[in-house]
Symmetry: C2
């Protein structure tokens, strides 16, 4: 397929998963890392790996002698020698040494991003205490004091809550080059993997939601359960940011979603990233394969999700006890849709990433249900409430329709279907209706239930502006017994259908929406089967009572 | 996770993919095979593999010394020594040596299956020419003459077309132990992977359709595009068959689907199988991981598909030319949803399995579209027409409704949606209606369009017996202008919804069905968007014409 030899600086789990992807394409990979049985070396026996530090210039040179392309699984490498090798021109370096250098230093990274118009939270250089105090004045408290270099998984960060914290913060981070960052009161943390080919082509994976625990990535939820319009904007920002970095490869982009829907870029990793592990099971092409393709200038693979939902959870050591650490895996073994990835690490310690588990699901509801017992095994005392993006939208022309429509809402709630409910009037808020209909599919809705009375234009007008199925509920008004609404909703012209149900029957509208979901989500279909069975039994119960009590007493 | 050491007899691609699965679970695997760089050895550097033949008793013994569990990636091993090792009891053998021995000999295998009531095509022992001629008399021509042992990928098989073929057949298969098999005029070849845990628990993967080329597996289509009721029956037969074989592991079961819907079991492989490679990308747990779990007595993983559709195609050598062989891979690199698996084989030759490509899709329509350019690169002169199971069912109470309903059928055809169309009368064929409604979801339908006039009971009655969404088309009769049908269809009681469209408007019924599919199949949603855009442009064209021609001339 491709005869260029690849050398990777670093042989941890990221290198290991790169090797896995490379093997499937018959690509040759050599690893530089200190342990002789580093995770990445364990699964590649055809190459003579190099045993030494990935910061050691001599060893990097030795690796470069044996390969055509150098890449990294960690950014804390000797970027200087990478620059030299790149300049000599015999071996390609991806991403470019310049990119690694810029990203290594978080302060430079921020400067670089700001200079390209990428939104980041405010920051200040703080070479000394006076500067740190000045930052407190400018940003207010709390703010973040961060090491510019060698910071990861919360290490090298300090939350300065009051002026009195300044001294202890500087003591904790002493001898490190520091800068201050304004506090970002985000509502969610988002992340996205972006892959860039040497020719500049850039592709983004879906936006995901990340949940950290003790500043270490804990959960990754794909796709993020956030309004699709916001996700598209965030994806654009990430792609624009990555376009500014020379060289090829995959990049992890971490972002903050703020209360007002705006996005701040937090930081970038110039390599495969923990927030992209879910891509192995959940996407057309994994982040690792796309990294290999990018650095070898091969066509990039599709970044689309191939399953509806996925959640990744890290397996972290809690102590040196390996057995304790792997406990959640035993839960994962009996969980449908869960895949375990262990990294072959020989020793366990608190906070060490020993593996991860990816759960996939036919729906985000199912993925969350599947995750529960695994999380329970991991953190028995924590109750996590993960959010769900609505699948069904219920709208009505007026709040006077609510008594009719809430019956359907109740059904959706009973079935555990995430939905939204609002007032959208065709005649009184026409522009809101246009906006609602046109954004519905993008926001993640699968169907819309629209209730309306009288002239009852809402369902048909919404159907004219979305390609999703629209269910119309004719609401009975004060005259004409609802027949006016019924005919207005059902007699749509050829080309724009509305799925019409009986007058005032929002129950059936909800059940129809659930059947539509059930056609593609087997778990929902099963619930509908059970509902119909219960309905049958209820009537059979009445038959029995009628038989035993007799018709006169009934 | 599990400290038992596994030894595999054979280090080809099946062993390689087992090792891949094992690595992710931190399982230790040692390989026995002749080449020092056998595919499976290439991706496992932590063990001292054994270099020698997997038929060599001494080498098998050497492997057994170093492991806790022995398994095979090929059934043509020395089963005798496996029996001995199993009897000694120090090392477990999975599947049991007895199973390997029974399956190795296709004639014994048939006898075994027959004795357990598994349906197979008729067969006869043919130790000599007289017996072969007698088989011809009994079965008629053509029939198959087969070697009992060492037969795979069509090798060791001969189609005896006439009595005159008997001599050349016996010459071609000379020195082999032969038996004859009655010709099975199948309509499709089906296959299924079944995994069996040591405790007897058995799980089946989805049924797939296999297409062979020169007697070698060419395409594997998952799920098989066949009536779901038939697939369930075939799956049951396969599970029943596997329950009769002692020991644990995964089994590939090949079957014939006959014209009358009956199933014959063709043959069984006691190991991972080419027809199960799709499980890596398309199922919750791959066949390889489930094999490892089974032989280590770990809980079996879910065998469900996690994507709607998948097609696997083998990459076979056509000569010694490696570049030629990998050509289709370059097409796969630019195909969304395609994953390439190369096996690291150092030499190419005609018919050698060098790798495979798995394509996944949001629908079987999409998977087939994605496969096309890859197949084109592989076999430029072949036009393959793969079948599609219907997603939409159109039914009507009477053929008099056909003129109305065919307009909707035309729309589905234009959108490229596979559908079926039939007459199902609620009043004249009530039992057919019950059968149709109750089997619909299982057969693969996602929605049903039912047209009816007058009393118009069909849509509502079908909706009462399926949990799929049902779309009702009120057909206008000779009196009451269709309002009778409309009210009869739309005014369903709480609990059972029918999505009602305008009178006679099967166009909208079809468009509604397409919208329902589109909510979950992005490619279909895009087509609906395009349709709506075209509709808009058509009207805008009329606006223009009206403006330019004037209303009097229009």
């Amino acid at each position: 397929m491709n005869n260029q030899k690849v050398g990777i600086l670093g042989g941890g789990q990221l290198g290991r998963m790169m090797v896995e992807a490379a093997s499937r394409l018959n690509l040759s990979v050599t690893i530089l890392d200190a342990p002789t049985d580093a995770p990445a070396k364990q699964i590649e026996s055809t190459q003579a790996h190099i045993h030494g530090a990935f910061k050691d210039a001599t060893k990097i040179r030795e690796l470069a002698e044996n390969v055509d392309v150098l890449t990294v699984e960690i950014e804390h490498v000797d970027a200087h020698v990478l620059s030299e090798i790149e300049a000599e021109g015999k071996v390609k370096v991806h991403p470019s040494a310049k990119t690694v250098k810029t990203i290594q230093d978080k302060y430079f990274q921020k400067q670089h991003l700001t200079s390209h118009g990428v939104p980041v939270s405010e920051y200040l250089d703080t070479p000394n205490e006076v500067a740190v105090l000045a930052a407190g004045k400018q940003f207010g408290y709390p703010f973040m004091l961060k090491s510019k270099t060698m910071a990861y998984d919360g290490k090298g960060n300090y939350v300065v809550k009051t002026e009195a914290d300044v001294k202890p913060a500087m003591e904790a981070l002493k001898n490190l080059p520091l800068y201050a960052e304004k506090w970002a009161p985000f509502v969610k943390e988002l992340a996205v993997m972006v892959v860039r080919r040497a020719n500049g082509e850039v592709r983004a994976y879906p936006m995901v939601e990340t949940i950290h625990k003790n500043s270490i990535c804990h959960l990754v939820i794909a796709p993020a359960q956030v309004d699709g319009a916001i996700l598209s904007k965030a994806q654009e920002i990430a792609m624009d940011a990555i376009k500014t970095f020379p060289g090829a490869g995959i990049f992890g982009v971490e972002m903050f979603l703020m209360q007002d829907g705006s996005i701040l870029l937090n930081e970038i990793a110039p390599r495969p990233h923990n927030s992209g592990h879910y891509t192995i099971e959940a996407c057309d092409t994994s982040q690792f394969e796309n990294h290999m393709r990018a650095i070898l200038d091969m066509p990039l693979g599709s970044t689309a999700m191939k399953v509806p939902a996925s959640i990744m959870v890290n397996i972290l050591g809690s102590s040196t006890d390996m057995v304790e650490c792997y406990k959640p895996c035993h839960e994962a073994l009996v969980t449908d849709g869960a895949t375990i990835h262990l990294y072959g690490k020989k020793e366990c310690r608190a906070g060490r990433k020993m593996g991860h588990i990816t759960v996939v699901g036919e729906s985000m509801m199912q993925a969350q249900e599947r995750l529960k017992p695994i999380l329970k095994a991991m953190e028995p005392d924590v109750e996590r409430h993960l959010s769900l993006r609505p699948l069904v939208g219920i709208i009505m022309g007026s709040d006077s329709d609510l008594p009719v429509m809430k019956v359907g809402a109740k059904i959706l709630k009973d079935f555990g279907i995430p939905f939204e409910l609002s007032i959208v009037s065709a005649h009184r808020t026409p522009m809101r209706m246009v906006e609602y209909a046109q954004s519905a599919a993008k926001r993640g809705l699968k169907t819309i239930i629209a209730g309306a009375g009288g002239a009852a234009h809402l369902p048909g007008m919404v159907a004219a502006m979305t390609s999703l199925p629209v269910i119309g509920v004719p609401v009975k008004g004060s005259s004409l017994d609802g027949v006016d609404s019924l005919h207005s909703i059902v007699q749509m012209p050829r080309g724009v259908p509305v799925a019409t149900v009986a007058i005032n029957n929002s129950t059936n509208a909800a059940l129809l929406a659930i059947r539509m979901l059930g056609a593609f989500i087997p778990g929902v279909l099963e619930k509908m089967d059970a509902y119909m069975k219960r309905m049958e039994n209820e009537v059979l119960g009445k038959v029995e009572r009628l038989d035993s009590v007799g018709w006169e007493e009934y």
